[in-house]
């Protein structure tokens, strides 16, 4: 009987079983950022422990960084303190720190794969739930809390429960104008926001096989929104090609040997899964959320659901969500007026995302009533966009094109925030109440082309009509 990627990578990294039934798992790559690591370093100091493997630990700054003005010290003294703390800890412990201006800084889940650090067949942890993103290259990557960040710093291992594996097979061809974000939202809508508890999601099927690595990163990024702590796509020739020439990729003399290992980590064709579901790629169209969790999503040409038409278990939540969002059941979601458009976040801030949005924006202008912000996911993405003239397309259309990369309006722990009940068309990953910085702010999740189309129209529209 064959094995899944999860089983193979888990076995290779298993140090020993722990007394309670968890596994002590070796962590191949540990990323840290300014929000969830300072307390962990303090806990280490309290216990007189040191960082075990600074060579496998990588630091960047993304959550609190002001993307419109990267100059230090940051205007917000608390943000400055968090940044200084991270910087100081990295320096003291000999940890690589990708600071703004280094050419390598960016959102942690963008730079990991981009620099070639997050490789197939590795285990990856970070004190951030969207660590599942790195599964897009075929890694076992999962988010941890701060106490576990402390554990990984001290031992380069983590106490982890081996999850079950659900094969999410996306069969057939996606329709034109459908992106990886749409596939992710469709899966979450179909399976539910809590169906993934206890599971890793393996994304397979011909539609995933045809996806580029950046699209797989977007797909895996949303696993946590389905309740799955980790999600991955099997490494293949596309994955191998993706790693050619990246800074931390294996050097030329051992690259082919590494590639062999990567491909051997992929799930065997006769692997057995704890569960499997099939999604028909043809059923997926451009998605928009209408509620306050990512599973409350519909295709742009559908009507917002009437709570009474939903299964009983989701009815009350739907009523609450519609009240919060100010949307009406039974009415089309298209035509919903927006106030803000946001292009960015660890979900959709890679170069392919900006290219997709630029095809909509070219020659068009952002609606007068809309504030539009674009934040590249990394310094490398920003410079690539500049080289391709994409930054100019955004600026000419009327987007604020940010110089510095960071989480910006996805988490709003920085100057970018919604105000009041503003409604934001956003390429980010969470439409939770208050998520974008205003306790009553509202979020409509969608893909990059859809956000661009909403920005120029001032309302939710079908991006397929624009290209």
């Amino acid at each position: 009987m064959g094995k899944t990627l999860l089983e193979k990578v888990w076995a290779a990294h298993s140090v020993r079983p722990l007394s309670g039934g968890k596994t002590q798992l070796f962590v191949g790559r540990h990323f840290i950022h300014e929000v969830t690591s300072p307390q962990a370093f303090a806990m280490l100091a309290e216990r007189g422990l040191d960082v075990r493997r600074p060579d496998l630990t990588f630091a960047t700054m993304d959550h609190v960084i002001p993307t419109d003005c990267p100059k230090r010290p940051f205007p917000d003294s608390v943000a400055e303190k968090m940044a200084a703390e991270l910087e100081g800890n990295a320096r003291k412990k000999g940890i690589a720190f990708f600071c703004p201006g280094s050419g390598r800084q960016g959102i942690v889940h963008v730079i990991g794969p981009e620099l070639g650090i997050s490789q197939p067949g590795t285990t990856i942890c970070c004190g951030d739930s969207h660590t599942c993103t790195h599964g897009g290259v075929g890694a076992i990557a999962f988010g941890i809390g701060t106490s576990q960040v402390r554990d990984v710093l001290a031992t380069q291992t983590v106490a982890a429960q081996k999850p079950k594996v659900r094969l999410v097979e996306v069969a057939g061809n996606t329709r034109k104008g459908t992106c990886a974000k749409d596939v992710a939202l469709h899966i979450i809508r179909t399976l539910g926001v809590n169906a993934g508890i206890g599971y890793a999601y393996e994304y397979g099927g011909s539609a995933v096989g045809r996806m580029e690595v950046e699209e797989r990163l977007t797909l895996c990024n949303m696993s946590i929104e389905a309740g799955a702590r980790m999600g991955y796509a099997n490494p293949d020739e596309k994955t191998v090609k993706y790693f050619e020439g990246r800074e931390f990729s294996p050097p030329a003399e051992v690259f082919s040997k590494a590639a062999e290992y990567w491909k051997s980590a992929a799930s065997d064709s006769d692997a057995e899964y704890d569960d499997s579901v099939q999604i028909n790629a043809q059923d997926i169209g451009p998605m928009v959320t209408w509620g306050t969790n990512p599973g409350q999503a519909i295709c742009v040409d559908e009507n917002v659901p009437l709570p009474d038409g939903l299964p009983e278990s989701g009815r009350k939540a739907a009523q609450d969500a519609l009240r919060y969002m100010g949307l009406e059941g039974g009415k089309p979601v298209a035509g919903t007026k927006i106030d803000v458009a946001f292009m960015g976040s660890c979900t959709n801030s890679r170069i392919s995302d900006f290219r997709a949005a630029a095809t909509v924006l070219g020659g068009r202008k952002v609606a007068k009533s809309v504030r539009a912000i674009a934040v590249p996911g990394s310094e490398k993405v920003a410079s690539q966009a500049k080289a391709e003239g994409i930054d100019e397309i955004f600026k000419e259309a009327g987007f604020e094109w940010r110089q510095t990369s960071g989480c910006s309006l996805c988490i709003a722990m920085n100057p970018d925030k919604l105000s009041g009940r503003q409604l934001c068309a956003s390429t980010s990953n969470r439409n939770f109440p208050g998520r974008q910085g205003s306790p009553s702010g509202r979020t409509l999740l969608m893909g990059p082309a859809m956000v661009a189309a909403a920005a120029v129209s001032g309302e939710v529209v079908d991006a397929r009509d624009f290209v």
Partner: protein, 224 residues
Amino acid sequence: MSMDANRTPKNRQGDADCVVTEKFIRTVEGRCIPVRGDDIDTDRIIPARFLTSITFEGLGKLAFFDERFDQSPNRREHPFNDLRFCGASIMVVGRNFGCGSSREHAPQALMRNGTRAIVGESFAAIFADNCCSIGIPTLCLQKEDVCWMMDAAEKNPGATAKISIQNREIEFCNRTLPFQEDESHRRAFLDGRWDAVYELLEGQKDADRVAAGLPYVSLGRKPG
């Protein structure tokens, strides 16, 4: 400090943080506070703007802040504002509690606010692990038992629940409810190993051996 003293935290209304100090967690006793709703995410438990700090101190009074206060800030109707539940240390919640962000600030805020155990239909995986790391058991009941417990707590806010981690059951209002708990969490509480770092340190030699055998750890350039 006696176990009971530790189990009757006072911080529901913004007193100083109270953290778990016991090593072994075999029983939890306290009054119950129902927090209704499914898929309550960690942004709701602790909004991101309160994460701008380099410590967890002071988070207790900020738990559920945007649900408890409007922007004036006037109090809204919320169990954490309800004086009947002041001092209650066992939360009763719905399905997929703690989903979303991995921020340990969420269980830290609840613990520092006086929570000592959370009983619910199901929990997000990272949240449950984070709770275990700081000594807060997360216990799963059948949906109908959760509903009954919420209703019973509303009717009898003064009633004490007794949780036995060993026997996997809760005694409350003349009923005994069996619960499911992640076995690794259960063992960790009973054995006093919920702070995992020491057990992990014991495996350091094995970890080094595993690292040496991995084909990739030695590949690639060294960070410079």
